[in-house]
């Protein structure tokens, strides 16, 4: 059992599998292993750690964007005209 991942999953509402798929678990464990719950959530949701975005991936994998079901701006190309479609309901 990975205590950091379990705690992160409980705090963020994203499964351990979803968190691991970001590729950021090891980096975030190193940064936020002993941080407050609010700081851990902020890191996962926005990619910001104490006023700094530690890597482009941290920005791109921000869970706030995933909660909405869109790519972080400047990181994903959904394709010409994709913006015209009704948004899909984000799966909870």
């Amino acid at each position: 059992m990975d205590a950091f991942v379990e705690l992160s999953a409980e705090l963020t509402g994203f499964s351990a599998e979803e968190l691991r798929s970001t590729g950021l678990v090891e980096q975030y464990r190193g940064l936020a292993g002993n941080a407050s719950h609010a700081e851990i959530i902020e890191l996962w949701y926005t990619g910001v750690w104490r006023g700094v975005i530690p890597s482009p991936r941290a920005y791109a994998e921000g869970l706030a964007w995933k909660a909405v079901g869109v790519a972080a701006p400047g990181t994903g190309a959904p394709g010409f005209g994709s913006w015209e479609r009704r948004p899909r309901r984000s799966a909870l």
Partner: protein, 565 residues
């Protein structure tokens, strides 16, 4: 014929191209460095606040707008970028034409008239739209503007956002203050489906949703595209800061002085001069004014640096009843144009209403701000995830671009401080007139009505500790800078009260041109880059025809313009 162009942004790149294509030898001196696209993308992604300038490498020797000194009652809030490509590297890529009324704003009671009409500029709008690559539908634009018969934009209008469709389904045909509302497509300088005979330069817009400040796909026009089409007659030198234009005793410009630097982190530089038969200043409205003031040129009217305008933008933000999928595709693909023109503009500044597709990103820092709010309220786990999805998924913003009239007291002067090269920092004295404030207030009232029509939940709030907060008639208001600086070397019909003539030629100097938004006597309510481009092409054509006309006397003319040995 040797031309020196100062500034490799929108206007400078376009003029250099036309001159180079027509046999001029052209040297373009750019103050900033060459941007690196991959580096800029990386810097964008890791920038905490994704401001328009955040991705771009700036240099100590040629600072961008953050070196302005504000001295007026309001802060001039619009950034500009000194880099190869200029602010056109970071621009949003929205290209509406000005309204015909906008060319005679003085007749309508505020500001100044243009020396040319919409009809005179219209062919150059078409030329600029083809040079830049604009996606729009001519019939749709004709609903609020005259567009030449038989004309096609080079690309079909971009698809609207889902948000646009939802809003149009409610507001189209409704009226506010007797104005019928209609959601209209906004012309875009990003690649869509071409019409026959047009080959887009670059990739199709893929919906990255970061047009300003950087399109990862490079589907948005930037001046670098025009630079790729320069002939061999055009030479670009970056990291060259022109700090003086010299004229002889007859007013003819003879040469420019510039400071060249290699190191981006210091002010270390070498000094150079370049002779020219014609000099074109295309360094941005504020930088052009600064350079004219530093050179002591073109100012017999005392108008250099005056009439500084921008679009003070009002943002209002709300939640739609259902998810609309923000942060997908371009920042704004439609607008409401009903308040751009008409008799009301005699009493309050007119405005254009952009439908903002990037949630509350600009207005309120979403989604980071929403997350922080919910976390502070104790939400965790699924409740947090659901709250963010429910909030952000329904966000939209209305972006009102308010006209600001030319006012000689809004002014750029040379400030007391010096930059790293020893050149004066620009000082800006900026304010908002009652006319502008009345426009902002009316925009807020119209916003309230639109939100009612949409049954949208209004979350707009302006607080005294917000930047650029003020009150007008007891109502809280706030403005944002749109990045649309203009007016500082204003164009007119007389050398007594304007700096340049209709060709953007300085009245005081027959071979000195000051081009760009600084020449515009009014900004109307449209993003000004397209109008700047149309004016640049018109000036370039004038320069070419003038050279042809004076071909016989050219040698004698340029010999006479040289300083005595």
């Amino acid at each position: 014929m040797k031309a020196v162009v100062v500034g490799a942004g929108f206007a400078g790149s376009l003029i250099a191209k036309v001159l180079g294509d027509n046999g001029f030898r052209v040297l373009v001196l750019e103050a900033g460095a060459q941007p690196d696209h991959d580096e800029a993308l990386l810097r964008f992604q890791t920038a905490l606040v994704k401001t328009p300038l955040a991705p771009y490498r700036t240099t100590t020797a040629a600072p961008s707008s953050d070196y302005l000194i504000n001295t007026g009652p309001f802060d001039y809030a619009s950034p500009y970028l000194r880099i190869n490509g200029g602010t056109g590297t970071a621009w949003t890529g929205i290209t509406p034409r000005m309204h015909p009324e906008d060319f005679r704003t003085a007749d309508l009671g505020h500001g100044r008239n243009w020396p040319i009409s919409y009809d005179e500029l219209e062919p150059f709008y078409r030329a600029a739209e083809w040079e830049i690559g604009v996606a729009a539908d001519a019939d749709e634009q004709r609903q609020h503007l005259p567009v030449a018969d038989g004309y096609s934009y080079p690309m079909h209008a971009l698809p609207r956002t889902y948000l646009d469709h939802v809003i149009a389904s409610v507001v189209d045909g409704a009226t506010i203050d007797g104005q019928e509302l209609l959601i209209t497509g906004t012309p875009q300088a990003r690649n869509g489906i071409p019409v026959r005979g047009y080959r887009p330069d670059g990739q199709l817009c893929a919906g990255y949703a970061s047009c300003v400040p950087i399109c990862p796909e490079q589907a948005k026009y930037t001046p670098h595209r025009t630079q790729k089409r320069w002939s061999h007659n055009v030479e670009l030198r970056t990291r060259c800061v022109v700090n003086r234009v010299h004229a002889d005793e007859f007013g003819r410009v003879t040469k420019v002085s510039y400071q060249r630097y290699e190191d981006d982190t210091t002010g270390t530089h070498t000094r150079h001069e370049e002779e020219a038969d014609v000099v074109v200043l295309a360094a941005h409205a504020i930088e052009n004014a600064k350079l004219l003031l530093m050179s002591g040129l073109a100012n017999s009217s005392d108008q250099v640096g005056r009439n500084l305008m921008d679009h003070p933008a009002l943002l209002t933000w709300a939640l739609m009843p259902e998810p609309i999928g923000p942060f997908r595709g371009p920042g704004s693909t439609t607008a409401i144009d009903a308040f751009r023109s008409g008799p009301q503009r005699c009493t309050r500044a007119p405005f254009r209403i952009e439908i903002g597709n990037w949630g509350w990103g600009w207005s309120a820092g979403s989604p980071g701000s929403d997350t922080a709010e919910f976390v502070a309220a104790g939400l965790r786990g699924n409740a947090l995830r659901q709250a963010v999805a429910n909030r952000v998924g329904r966000q939209f913003t209305l972006q009102f671009e308010i006209e600001q009239e030319a006012d000689p007291t809004n002014r750029v002067t040379l400030g007391p401080g010096r930059d790293a090269l020893g050149n004066p920092r620009p000082s800006v004295h900026y304010g908002l007139s009652t006319y502008v404030k009345d426009g902002l207030l009316d925009a807020k009232r119209v916003s309230d009505r639109i939100f009612e029509l949409l049954r949208a939940e209004d979350h707009t709030s302006y607080k005294p500790d917000d930047e650029r907060y003020f009150e007008h008639n007891g109502e809280p208001l706030r403005y944002w800078g749109a990045g649309h600086g203009g007016g500082t070397h204003v164009m007119g019909v007389s050398p007594r009260d304007s700096v340049v003539d209709q060709w953007q030629r300085c009245w005081d100097h027959p071979n000195l041109y000051a081009v760009g938004c600084g020449s515009m006597p009014s900004l109307g309510t449209s993003n000004p880059s397209l109008t700047m481009a149309a004016l640049a092409l018109r000036t370039a054509g004038h320069l070419v025809s003038r050279r042809v006309m004076s071909a016989g006397s050219e040698l004698a003319e340029s010999a006479g313009s040289r300083p005595p040995p």
